[in-house]
């Protein structure tokens, strides 16, 4: 029973490491590989920090376990080791972590600047849509096909909701706004997040590596429907993207006479892409 507690305090870190180790296989992990180049860099940074943190976690817990076990051995001693510390050790364990932290700081500066500093945005990136968050949905405004997105609404702009189509393989930029309270544009699979601040327009750029349907959720408490703001970013080929915009334009100009397609079918056509039973 003497060794029970040291064992206990060694046991739980082992469990923690095992759980962490099996998490990717159990799908308790990132929702897939990062589907954007900056996202990949974020993942690389994550794993680099994981390595450092893992070593420190294991190291400190081995040390803790060791001193606890030895503490049991010393239990019958009359006195403990009378030490007030060690100057050498203090220097060592101040400088070494400082170095590691400095390294991590410098390593990630560039990624941060690429994300957020306008002068570091890709040269060719153009705004393709304005995304306005409101309680509790994402309202999207595209320019008419072939036209640039203007800061103010134009008569021929196209509108949709919760469904952002982007061409993949090139950087795109959206203008993020809010109609009421704070929201946050979060696309986990692309590793993109930016708060939508009322009263401001914030440019958010990203590039999708491959076609796909990426979940869009809100990441800033905006009221009771915060969880309901389910949207998607659909990355598709340039041609399909242009076709989508044309379909949207036709739909938006529908005067009831041209074709008598049921509205349900029309919406189905442009909201779901091809056949789709899960909405995904």
């Amino acid at each position: 029973m003497n060794k029970f507690w040291p064992l206990f305090f060694c046991f739980w870190p082992v469990v923690a490491i095992v759980v962490f180790w099996i998490s990717p296989a159990m799908n308790w992990w990132f929702p897939g590989m990062a589907m954007s180049p900056l996202g990949e860099q974020i993942d690389n940074l994550f794993y680099m920090i994981l390595l450092v943190v893992g070593i420190v976690f294991v190291g400190t817990h081995i040390a803790l376990g060791y001193v606890l076990f030895r503490g049991v051995d010393h239990a019958d001693d009359k006195k403990s080791w009378f030490s007030h510390g060690s100057h050498k050790l203090e220097v060592l364990w101040s400088v070494a972590p400082a170095g590691i932290l400095l390294f991590i700081s410098l390593y990630q500066l560039e990624v941060w600047m690429r994300y957020r500093v306008k002068s570091h945005f890709p040269d060719d990136v153009q705004p393709i849509a304005e995304v306005t968050a409101r309680q509790f949905e994402w309202r999207i405004r595209y320019p008419a096909p072939g036209k640039p997105l203007m800061p103010t609404p134009q008569p021929d702009d196209l509108y949709t909701v919760n469904d952002l189509h982007v061409p993949f393989g090139r950087p795109v930029l959206i203008r993020l706004r809010s109609m009421d309270v704070q929201h946050s544009f979060f696309v986990p699979e692309l590793r993109v997040k930016q708060d939508a601040v009322p009263g401001t327009v914030i440019p958010v750029w990203f590039e999708t590596i491959d076609e796909g349907d990426y979940d869009l959720t809100c990441a800033e408490l905006c009221g009771w429907g915060h969880y309901k703001m389910r949207g998607r970013v659909l990355a598709e080929r340039e041609l399909e993207y242009q076709a989508y915009l044309k379909t949207l334009q036709a739909e938006q100009g529908y005067d009831g006479v041209q074709e008598l397609k049921s509205t349900g079918a029309q919406i189905a056509e442009y909201s779901q892409g091809t056949d789709n039973k899960t909405g995904h």
Binding site: Q154, G225, K228, G253, T263
Partner: protein, 465 residues
């Protein structure tokens, strides 16, 4: 006092406290029903229960034009073991193939062939003798269907080749589950627009029980169509707290739409019954007469007249809710839209400000929604001559309503030209926005549409925001 004892006591107390029975949502009766004399109230509740059930025990009333997600087919072969071979196919978007294995216990209707139509919208054929069984088991590969009797006992199915089979699906249950997850906290269990969140929302969530929906494509006096409701759920209502459920799969949205229609029919049945019963059996009668007398009269009424009232109400519902699906009842412009030119917009503005339409009296001269009607006492919608108690405009649900501020460019019923056309042509049901279709030609309406769509882009002469 030992600690082990303390711990045991504590855990016991907590487990008792923590266990409460799982309760289920309940339909509520409307305020008008509450005003009836008690036995009449009970009768209304029991009729509703018989026709619609409770949220966790739904009753399928086949007469209603609701898509229950039925499957149907024609018997190919009757085997000697008492099963039939019948290729079943879904008869609506709700009857998807993956639901076939889950149908055990579902009702099976066998309609003898020869002259009848197995209706394709889920309605059981009404006229011929229909035998009712329950599904025991269906094998999709061999297409063989085993049944038991309606009472659950084993039985031989009596049918011949060519007879029609209807299996009542569980589409309504699916709709109910989705509704309880996504809709109930605003729209309420009974669809009365009074869920826990409702008091904090402007405008309030729709109360389905009148069978009225604002943004429809159907003619005045016709109910909303499935397409209309599908559109609202998919696209939301911009400018309100009705969000867009764009990413729900189509079959789920259809299921929700069916359930909403079903709730609406339930609400309508309740109000039809209440209207009839409150003629003679409201609780104010007890002020003059004794309970026993009224009771006796009611018992007789209940036996002789009430069933007829219920069945004719059912027929009305059936007609009312099938009508919107008829393309004849959808408002379709006869002429294509006039191009949005400056001349068209100018004509539209002239119409907007004219005495013929008086749009400006509600929407204001600049379209800001601040017309004079917002400050005067007006008639209640649908009740000409009956004045409201306070100034302003009211909708049929008793809520104050603001005319649309056209400068915002946010159109609740949709921003397509045809949507705006329909608002002008047929009005907005349940609101003071009237139908102008009889007074204006298509050309006029298109001019107005062009004007309305252009209002947000006019140069602002007055400070609006």
């Amino acid at each position: 006092m030992k600690f082990s004892d303390t711990i045991v006591c504590a855990v016991a107390l907590l487990s008792i406290a923590g266990c409460s029975s799982n309760s289920v949502p309940q339909f509520e009766t409307s305020q008008d029903t509450e005003k009836l004399f008690q036995p009449a109230r009970d009768a209304v509740e029991s009729e509703l229960h018989a026709a619609f059930g409770t949220p966790d025990q739904l009753v399928v009333w086949p007469e209603l034009p609701v898509d229950f997600g039925n499957f149907g087919g024609s018997i190919e072969k009757v085997t000697t073991q008492g099963t039939v071979v019948v290729p079943l196919s879904g008869q609506s978007p709700l009857a998807t193939a993956d639901r076939l294995p889950e149908l055990s216990g579902a009702a099976v209707l066998v309609a003898p062939s020869g002259g009848d139509e197995t209706a394709e919208d889920g309605q059981a054929p009404a006229e011929k003798a229909v035998a009712v069984y329950r599904v025991a088991h269906y094998e999709p590969e061999s297409k063989s269907l085993h049944v038991v009797g309606d009472d659950g006992q084993p039985t031989q199915i009596s049918a011949t080749e060519g007879d029609g089979i209807q299996i009542i699906g569980d589409g309504l249950q699916k709709g109910r589950n989705l509704y309880l997850r996504h809709c109930v906290h605003c729209h309420g269990v009974s669809g009365d627009g009074d869920g826990p969140t409702a008091p904090y929302l402007k405008p309030r969530p729709r109360d389905y029980r009148k069978g009225l929906f604002k943004f429809t494509s159907t003619k005045p006096g016709i109910r909303a169509s499935r397409d209309d409701l599908f559109r609202i759920v998919k696209l939301g209502v911009p400018g309100t707290y009705m969000p867009s459920f764009m990413l729900l799969p189509d079959d789920e949205v259809s299921a929700i739409v069916e359930y909403v229609r079903w709730l609406s029919m339930r609400g309508e049945l309740e109000s039809k019954l209440v209207v009839q019963l409150s003629l003679d059996f409201s609780s104010t009668r007890l002020e003059d007469e004794s309970f026993a007398d009224v009771s006796a009269e009611f018992d007789e009424f209940r036996g002789s007249d009430l069933p007829d009232i219920v069945s004719s109400a059912g027929e009305e519902l059936s007609v009312d809710w099938s009508a919107p699906e008829d393309p004849e009842n959808v408002v379709t412009p006869k002429e294509e839209r006039v191009a949005s030119s400056e001349e068209s917009i100018a004509r539209g503005r002239k119409l907007f400000l004219s005495e013929k339409t008086k749009c400006y009296s509600c929407h204001g001269e600049t379209g800001a929604g601040n017309g004079t009607a917002t400050e005067t006492i007006n008639d209640l919608p649908g009740q000409p001559g009956v004045k409201a108690e306070e100034p302003g405009l009211f909708d049929s649900w008793g809520q104050i309503i603001k005319p649309r501020n056209l400068q915002r460019g946010l159109f609740r019923g949709g921003r397509r030209p045809v949507d705006i056309y329909r608002r002008i042509h047929s009005g907005i049901k349940g609101t003071p926005m009237q139908a102008f279709g009889n007074n204006l030609s298509d050309q006029d309406i298109w001019d107005l549409v062009n004007f309305v769509l252009n209002v947000p882009f006019e140069k602002k002469t007055q400070a609006s925001h």
